[in-house]
Amino acid sequence: MSCTQSPAAQLKTGLQQVASWTATARMAGEAWLKGSVPQAYAAQTLRAAQETLQEEAKALEEALPNSAAAELHASLLKQARSIAGVIGQMRAAVEKRDRQTLSHLLKQLEAEQQALHALSKRGGAEL
């Protein structure tokens, strides 16, 4: 995120980034389960998603939220960390070729995605 962005813009960018990489991880996981992508690619993409979300969480932690967006900021930070954790487990499942665990984790990721969507809507209203 750029240092010249306002806190509200930073939060918006953060939300977009987290949502985009969560969707990417879900698509990669589902594609691997269907046999549409090789294992190496799925693991690589999940690693990229996990790393990006961890970086995003770090950036959110370092950024100073304005008072109006403080609660939203904290929620997004928590959400980003939680999603990064799920994606890390998904990567491990793909590396072990454990389809059952991956299916279970994909459901968990879907729930996280819905929570993120609700947060996004709230963000849209508040910012």
């Binding site: 990417t24 879900r26 090789p38 690619y41 690589q44 990006t52």
Partner: protein, 404 residues
């Protein structure tokens, strides 16, 4: 009959060679972020590139000069130095981006990081340029590039809402993220109106010994070949809009784009995307590497020609050797190929006036073109689109960089 075959082959190579790393990256980003809303920019860029390619072929066929030769002769070496240096920098970055595209395609299928592929890819590129002829470089890789037609097939498999697609062909203002919208628009124009394309085309026309009898072939290849080629770019944008946009995936890395064909074609879609990316970028890297050698050799008055043995044009061969390996080192150093591509395409739009305005003056010079000079339509279309791309670039690039 021979003419018809020549036109058909020319058109096929234009279609197969249309996509490169810039066109792929910008179309995928545009579709993922703005659905069909940036289709009009692809259309605008295609119109401009048709005129520019036709002009560079006409210049070569009528005056028997390459674009570089004619520019240097008409404006003098000191003036020509400015577009020459600008072209060299942008071409060098474009070459690195193309090599990066090939490496990423290999990373997708093998799982081995793109960085480790940079030097092997550079070596194969160099070997092909060293051993190959112009015909092999131009036609061989472009015919393989017809694999990119899989994006066109995917559009029909996915059944897009055609009314929305048609609406995207009409220029419109963004409803959100204006800075990003204009930045992607600039990058699309930079990717389509690549100066290396028409420098390369005019050198190729000289290599193929074109004369006034080839003006029909030139017009056919430029108009039909480029139009069909742009269908692939449009299709790629549409597929991205249908697959990535609804999921909210914005493309920051190539890994995110690699799944766009899995929805219509399953596992083969993944292979088709990797093959399309690899082949399109490999063909474009050959052209960009060769073009740099053409530009340098023609500017400095050295012997040049891909059809000659390297020992007959040693400095020409040395030039592409050096440029290819320097470009490969940038990728080996770990520069993000997608960021490099988008930056290079936006930069291309900034330097367009430096390259295109002298070209337009030349195309209106009776001493070079005689009665085949530009008409008002060619001049106006190219001038308007170039100025538009430049203005958009100097406004959108700072907004995108400083706005994050």
């Amino acid at each position: 009959m021979k003419k018809a075959l020549e036109i058909t082959l020319g058109i096929l190579t234009s279609i197969g060679g249309f996509l490169d790393v810039g066109a792929i990256a910008t179309a995928v980003q545009a579709g993922a972020s703005f659905k069909f809303q940036l289709l009009w920019v692809v259309l605008l860029g295609t119109i401009c590139v048709i005129f520019l390619v036709e002009m560079s072929g006409r210049l070569a066929a009528v005056s028997r000069h390459t674009l570089v030769d004619a520019l240097r002769e008409r404006f003098g070496f000191n003036f020509y130095l400015i577009p020459f240096l600008a072209e060299l920098v942008v071409d060098g970055l474009a070459l690195a981006a193309e090599i990066g595209g090939v490496c990423l395609a290999l990373q997708l299928v093998t799982g081995i990081s793109f960085r480790w592929w940079a030097l092997p890819v550079a070596f194969v590129l160099w070997l092909l340029l060293w051993k190959g002829t112009f015909s092999i470089i131009e036609k061989g890789t472009s015919l393989f590039g017809l694999i990119t037609l899989s994006f066109v097939v995917a559009v029909f498999v996915l059944h897009p809402p055609w009314n929305d697609v048609a609406a995207g062909l009409v220029p419109s203002l963004p409803a959100h993220d204006a800075a990003q919208y204009w930045f992607i628009a600039v990058a699309i124009l930079g990717a389509l109106i690549s100066p290396y394309l028409f420098y390369f085309y005019s050198s190729g026309a000289i290599e193929d010994k074109w004369n006034k009898n080839d003006l029909g072939v030139n017009r056919g290849v430029a108009a039909v070949g480029m139009s069909f080629g742009s269908f692939i770019s449009l299709s790629l944008l549409i597929v991205s809009a249908l697959v990535l946009f609804p999921r909210g995936i914005q493309v920051d890395r190539y890994e995110q784009a690699a799944m766009i064909l899995t929805e219509p074609f399953g596992y083969w879609g993944f292979i088709l995307f990797a093959a399309s990316l690899g082949i399109a970028c490999f063909g474009a890297a050959l052209e960009a590497g060769l073009d740099q050698a053409y530009v340098v050799a023609q500017t400095l008055g050295w012997n040049w020609g891909e059809n000659q043995h390297p020992k007959e044009d040693a400095r020409f061969s040395m030039t592409y050797t050096v440029f290819i390996f320097v470009a490969a080192l940038l990728i080996f150093a770990g520069i993000d190929p997608l960021k490099l591509t988008i930056f290079t395409m936006a930069l291309t739009a900034v330097i367009l006036p430096l390259v295109i305005f002298p070209f337009l003056i030349l195309m209106n010079d009776e001493n070079y073109l005689g009665k085949h000079r530009n008409g008002i339509i060619s001049n106006s279309v190219v001038l308007i689109i170039t100025v538009l791309a430049f203005v958009m670039a100097i406004v959108a690039i700072p907004l995108q960089i400083f706005g994050g």
